[in-house]
Each structure stands twice: as C-alpha cells, then as structure tokens.
Amino acid sequence: MPEVWLPPRMQRLTGGAQRVTASGRNVRQLVESLERAYPGLKAELYDDEEDILMPGIAVIVDGETSQLGLLERVDENSEVHFLPALGGGV
C-alpha cells in the first residue's frame, strides 16, 4: 500500500505516527482511506467547499510535487507527502 508521510501537526491524529499506510489509486482515495483510519485527517487535507486539496497544501508523490492534487495517481509502492506549498518571488 502507498506510504503517507504526515507533517507534525497532523501526527496528533495518528497517535504520533509520521508514516502511515493508506489504500487508494489516487490522492482522493488516499485521503478517504486516511479519514477512515484516523478520523479528523480529512478536515486537515481536504477543502469540502471547493472539492480540492486544502489551499496551500502540496502533495508530493514519489518526490515530485503534483499539480493534479486529489486527482494524482499513486501506485502500490508510492511515497506520498503532504507539505506546505511554496510560493515564489521572481
């Protein structure tokens, strides 16, 4: 199953675990799977008004920052990180 890394703030919802596994073929399914295992995580990751990943959160799948957010595909061995998005200045 894909491995999901969570930032410290969200680890209170996973009993302190930084890395958890979740099932799914895309990020949306991972978020749903995480919510089932760790209630409250979805509210951290998902903007239900806009049906998008929470503004300002970047999802990094296998080292690449995704531009597709919830729609990004993941595979069985994927490593998924939820991190703050970076704005730029030039």
């Binding site: 300002g56 080292g63 690449e64 970076l86």
Partner: protein
C-alpha cells in the same frame, strides 16, 4: 563582443535554438524608450489618484471626514476602506501556492478600523491634477487614537504586548501562511503569533548524541526592500458595459484581475487586466496595492483614474521582506559527517500574517543530507509594512544562519568548507529534512565546479582580506501557464505568452517554441497577452516561467507541427504518416522531390484549410530544484569599516540554460541583491516605527560602481522531467551571498558578525569591541 567562459554542460542533448544567445525581442523597444510601463498610460478624461497614508505606526481610526476634500474644486472622488469589499478571512489560493487572506489583503490596501504601520493607506482621492489631489489629501480629517506599537517579534511575543489584531488566531500549520482569525464564539485571546509550525526528520536528540562536534549559532537580519526601479502604478477604467479595464505592471496580470475582481465584488469575467512592461518586481508585484484603489476611485468618479506611488510610498507602503531571528544548532562526526541539525526561525510578518518563514524552514537545510533534523517556524505580526515575497522568499536569511553555522562547524573540524559540502551534499534519493526524497539535483556538481574553479585556488594575500563560500537551495515552482501561436503568411510566428516578462522570458519561451519547429527564433515575435487574449497563467514567480510557459509554448509548437504535417499531406495527397518534419522542412517520406519549408507551407495555409493557429494550457509538475555555490573575496578597511568585494564567482545548476546570457544575468542580479542585503540594506526605524531612510539616497543599494564583475558558471544538470531539461534559475542566486560575504568578512577580520547588514558602522563597532576585549 563579450567573451563567455565555457559553462559546464552535463546535459547530453544538442539543440539549434535552445542554449543559444539571441538578441532579446524586447531589447530595441526598451533601449529606445518606446516600451510602455505602468505610469505611461494616458486616457481621455483620466483623473489622478493619490493616497493618504497613516502618520502613526499603530492607531485606531475613530473617524474619517472626507467632506472638505470632496468639496475642493477638481476633486471627483474620495474612497476609504468602505469602498472595497470586506471579504471573509477565508484563505484562498490564487494559483501557484500563493495564498491570500482576502480580508487582510483588503485591509492592507485601505485600512479599515486600525492603521497598522506608518504609511498604511487610509483613503484616496481622484482629481483633475496630482496637485489638486495632493491638496485634497490634506483636507481629509482622520481622528486617530494612537496606540502603542510593537516593532519587533521579540516585543510582539511578550505577555501583555499590544495586539495588532484582537482576534488573530495562532495557527499551527505551515500551510496557512496568511493566518486566520478566531471564530466569534471562541473565548481564546488573540495573539501576535500568527503561526507556529515544525518539520521533523529522524531522531534529532539521538543525532546530537552521535555528534563529536556541536556548534550553536544565532543570527539576526533587518527588514529590507526588493528595491525595484519602477514604483507601483495602476490605471482603471470602467466601461459603458460595466466591465473594468486595468493597466498595471505586475508579476501576474491574472492575479491582478482575480484579486481586484474580488475586492470590487465583480466576476473575473468583467475585468480585463492589461500587462505593462515591468521595471522589476522580485516578488513584491505578485500582490495588488493600487489597482483596487484606482478601480474604486474610477467607479465613484465615472472617469478613468491613474494612481502612482512615490519612492517613499513604495518603501513605506509596500512589502519589504521580513526581519528575522534564527537559532541554528549543528552536529557532525569527527570525520565531517552531518548527523543532526536543529533550527528555530522567527520572522516578522509585518502588519498582517504571512511572512515567508515556511519556505525558509523548508529550504535552509535542503542542500544537505542530514538524517536527523528539526526546524521550527514562527510567524509574528508587528507594526511594520506587511512583508511581501522577495526573491526566494525567506530563504536568504535562513541560509545566512545555516551557511555561517556550516562555516563555524568546518572551522571547528578543521576541514575545507567545500569538501565538507561535497561530503554532505544532497543527491538524487537523499531525503530532505521535510521528508520527500529528492529527484536528480546538481548540488554536488556545483560544489565540485566551485572547488575546481581557479578562483578557489587563487592566492588571497594581505591583511584584512578573506574568502568565503556558501551554498543555497530553492525548490522552484510551476503552475498553470498558457500560450497561443498565430502563423503569418510570410512564415513568421506571433507567439502570445501568458507570463509577464521580467527576466527575458519572452525570448527563452520563444526559443523553446522555435526549437520544436526548427525555425529561427528571430522569426518568432513574442508578446505578453492580456487576460482576455491568452489562457490563465499563474504569476511570474518561483522561477517558473521558462519552465512552465516554456512548456506551454512547446506544446503549442507540437500542435502547429501536427497541423503543418496535415496540410502537407493534403497538398501531396498522402497519409500524414508519410510526411516527415525535420528542422523546419516537411518532406514526403517516399518522394524526395516533394518538399516544403515551414515558410513555403505558411504561405499556403489559407487555401489548404485556413489559418494555422494553436493554443495550449499546461500545469506541469516536475520543476526541478536548483542549487548554487558562491565564492567571494573581500577586503575590510579597518579605519572606515567599508567592505570591498574583490572577486565574486557564482556557480549554479540551471538544468538546461535555454538562453545562457539570461541565466548569467539572473545569477549576477541575484548575487548583487544578496551582497546589498549582506552589506548595506536595511529599514531604519525610529522608536515610533517611522522609517527614516525611505529614499534611494539613504537606502543604500549596491550599484555597478560598487562591485566587480560577478563571474558565473552555469552547471547544466538537465531536469529530467522537462522537455528541454529546464530548471528555474532566478531565485537561487540571492541565497548564498549573505553567508558567503559574512564568512569572508569573518576570515578577513577574525571576528564573526551575526547580524545584517554588515555595514561600516557595525564592522567598526565589532572591531572596536574586539580590541577592547583584547585590551587594545
């Protein structure tokens, strides 16, 4: 003719147009003065707007009486915060990860109930001349209740400190940079601490237990301004059909459109933003300041209105980057392996939440392979102008702390600082302190190139001379981007790009387009389209334009190529699979006599099926990180404290340098800004928070007379995800100079200065203190 030293090409593809140095398409217009900037708009019936700004750093606005100003002959409108929408405090992402709390944005543009810094806009006037507008400003009566100001993060965090925003919530989430407010029924007290968050990797305590050498280090930096030459200017006109047209120079006219539409409470489809040429932005022109004011004045006056800032208004009313305080602790083994790192970063956000402390936390340790890391960030509001993005937002100050700490560690270990960096460099597969594993990056290659550079081996003799090195990392951004091409009958191409061009991107994007089609880039005429003429494009920021808009142009060119092949097949009555397209020539695969150049086919486009045009919109991932390493030699005058830069070499991984001259220019420009940050630049405030040096005479930035030629070395480690291997280049070069110069000064005078700027006064003070300590 300039002689260019060969750069280091590790990418393995050869191109016709990519990697060359054509003359920039916009060069003639700019050098002949024909290019039009934000202030150059003149419209029939246009009025002149001016802004009234707060004389206090912190004050409650009890009332604003505009009657006398409105009665002055020639005055057509006066606006205050009530003329802008007051949206909710909900955080919105207007693309590219640049988040906005629209309530705070609105209240920064025109203060609502409180003035939060000296220079905070309070009201604005539109009149038939700037002089009448200025007279009218003096007639506006504002009743202020002056409040105690907090002028540093340290003060702001003390118990009982005056609160800027009584209902500001302390977030604990690096995602929500712009901050949030407490719910009405939340009994929690407000705070000046807008955000506190952390990143952890491995076991930091265990890492320090494994370390043989530990150093602890603390730095401070002052707020500094981006210092663009062109002050902000905006013109707004409401049209008879209820639509709004805006002219301004910005780093993203789609952003201008979207932000202004929200603050005018009209749909984005009713607003057209026309991009003007831009005289520098460096991040600060990703936000709107004047466009909504001009729009509100124009709506009220029924005339177009132009508003321009003076230099003083730019300094006092727009965002500098944050003042910072940073603690770093590093641990290494005797053989020079980094095993643990810890950092605590406190950034002044200015009057509203949203300092760049999050990118600072995410990037400062990223050049290195550190198994155990803990980084903590604090975003603190203070009574100073709201901070804005500045080239690699937040990271130069963080790298100043990290890279001077590395130097201290190397001194303690007795190892060469570049050898240490090589030993600990992040590579493909290294886990970043924030967690993800890096893709192919070129850090070790830049360090090696710096180590091999003649500069590093050159003797540096004489007293008060020193050499310093430092490195820097920027992750680079991407985002939605668009381009459109029109093929003219003479075989030239009009290429409309969605990104405002700050650093020569019209040409670097055109080169990628031309490369696909095998035509000379001189046959491509690029322009930046307005918001009604090209698809949405995220801001010119994050060093992303050559990557993302270049990619859009690549896709447009592929579509043009496909259409050209179809036309040739129609002419030759063959299958498209039988048409070969190579280097600008279409050829029938089975009949060598059947051959058309791009130009010949362009001339036949209308009778073979009509005009050939194409558009593409992309949102590509994979913007590869960029790393750089700088070497600097300095000489310190012990009598005056003046630092002279003797020699400077900047090495950077640019992926594939599409236009090497522009890459070199970006590296040189970034290095110079970083040197200014290190040596001279700072906002001087008096004890009331009033800026004392709000002119370029007193706010000292380096000029070409102050510095030697900045030598550059481009290391081309191609980004494997981009069609031509592009990595962003604009931001990385401002990151290393602060620490490189500090390290060099430390080696020159034997004392370390941990506070920026290292101005003559501070250096003399340091030398005198050292002499006193030594009994001199």
């Amino acid at each position: 003719m300039l002689e260019y030293e060969p750069n280091i090409v590790l990418s393995n593809a050869e191109y016709n147009e990519v990697g060359k140095r054509p003359i920039r398409h916009d060069g003639a217009e700019k050098v002949t003065g024909q290019a039009r900037y934000g202030a150059d708009i003149r419209l029939p019936g246009m009025l002149h707007g001016m802004v009234l700004r707060s004389p206090h750093s912190h004050a409650r606005i009890k009332s604003i009486d505009t009657r006398h100003a409105e009665e002055l002959p020639g005055v057509h409108a006066v606006v205050t915060a009530g003329d802008l929408a007051q949206p909710s405090s909900r955080v919105v992402d207007l693309a590219e990860g640049v988040l906005h709390n629209m309530r705070f944005l609105s209240n920064n543009i025109l203060a609502a109930d409180k003035a939060l810094y000296k220079g905070h806009a309070i009201a604005a006037v539109a009149a038939t001349s700037p002089h009448i507008a200025e007279q009218a400003l003096a007639l506006i009566q504002v009743d202020y209740e002056e409040l105690p100001a907090v002028l540093s993060a340290e003060e702001a965090l003390k118990p009982g400190a005056p609160l800027l925003h009584e209902r500001l919530a302390t977030m604990s989430n690096a995602n929500l940079r712009p901050g949030g407010t407490l719910d009405d029924d939340d009994p929690t007290d407000g705070s000046n601490l807008a955000n506190q968050f952390e990143f952890r990797l491995g076991d930091v305590e265990q890492g320090f237990r494994e370390a043989d050498v530990i150093i602890e280090h603390e730095t401070a930096t002052a707020a500094i301004h981006q210092g663009y030459i062109e002050p902000h200017a905006a013109t707004a006109q409401w049209n008879s059909d209820g639509t709004l047209t805006l002219w301004s120079s910005s780093q993203g006219h789609f952003n201008v459109r979207d932000q202004t539409a929200r603050l005018m409470d009209v749909p984005v489809s009713k607003v057209k933003a026309i991009p003007m040429e831009i005289g520098g932005g460096f991040g600060a022109k990703t936000l709107v300041y004047l466009e909504p004011v001009a729009a509100a004045l124009a709506r009220k006056a029924g005339h177009p209105v132009k508003v321009m800032m003076s230099r003083t208004e730019v300094f006092e009313g727009t965002g500098p980057t944050s003042g910072t305080q940073i603690q770093v602790k590093l641990g290494a083994t005797k053989d020079g392996r980094l095993v643990a790192a810890e950092a605590h970063l406190t950034y002044e956000a200015g009057a509203f939440p949203g300092s760049p402390v999050s990118p600072a936390c995410q990037c400062m340790m990223s050049p290195y392979d550190i198994p155990n890391a803990w980084v903590e960030g604090f975003d603190v509001v203070v009574n100073k102008p709201k901070s804005a993005a500045y080239r690699a937002p937040g990271v130069p100050a963080a790298a100043f702390a990290m890279e001077t700490a590395i130097d201290l560690l190397c001194e303690k270990l007795g190892v060469d600082p570049l050898a240490f960096r090589l030993r600990n460099s992040a590579k493909e597969g290294t886990r970043a302190p924030t967690g993800p594993v890096w893709p192919r990056v070129g850090f070790a290659e830049t360090v090696q190139a710096a180590k091999d550079h003649p500069h590093y081996a050159a003797p540096l003799e004489g007293p008060y001379r020193g050499r310093g090195v430092a490195s820097g990392f920027w992750r680079n951004n991407t985002g939605p981007a668009s381009a459109t091409a029109i093929i003219h009958n003479d075989g030239t191409v009009k290429l409309i790009e969605g990104s405002p061009d700050i650093g020569g991107t019209r040409t670097s994007v055109s080169q990628q387009f031309a490369e696909v089609l095998g035509i000379p880039v001189t046959d491509v005429s690029p322009s930046v389209g307005d918001t009604d003429s090209v698809g949405f494009t995220s801001v010119t920021g994050g060093s992303g334009v050559t990557f993302k808009t270049g990619w859009a142009a690549y896709e447009v060119a592929q579509e043009i190529k496909r259409k050209m092949i179809e036309r040739a097949a129609r002419i030759w009555d063959c299958e498209v699979g039988e048409v070969e397209y190579d280097n600008g020539v279409l050829q029938h695969a089975k009949d060598p006599e059947q051959r058309l150049t791009f130009k010949q086919l362009a001339a036949r486009q209308n009778p073979t099926g009509g005009p050939i045009t194409a558009s593409a919109g992309v949102n590509p991932g994979g913007a590869g990180p960029s790393l750089g390493t700088h070497i600097v030699d300095v000489e310190v005058d012990p009598e005056t404290g003046k630092v002279t830069i003797l020699r400077y070499t900047a090495v950077q991984d640019a992926g594939k340098a599409i236009h090497p001259s522009y890459v070199e220019g970006q590296i040189q420009g970034g290095a110079v800004q970083g040197i200014g940050w290190a040596l001279n630049e700072e906002y001087f405030f008096d004890d009331k928070g009033h800026m004392l040096n709000s002119s370029f005479l007193d706010y000292r930035m380096p000029t070409s007379l102050d510095l030697p030629m900045i030598d550059t070395v481009i290391v081309e480690v191609a980004n494997p995800t981009h069609p031509y291997g592009v990595r962003g280049v604009g931001e990385t070069p401002i990151i290393p100079p602060l620490a490189a110069v500090a390290n060099a000064i430390s080696h020159a005078i034997g004392v370390r200065i941990n506070q920026l700027p290292m101005s003559p006064g501070r250096i003399l003070e340091t030398l005198w203190n050292e002499q006193s300590r030594n009994g001199g």
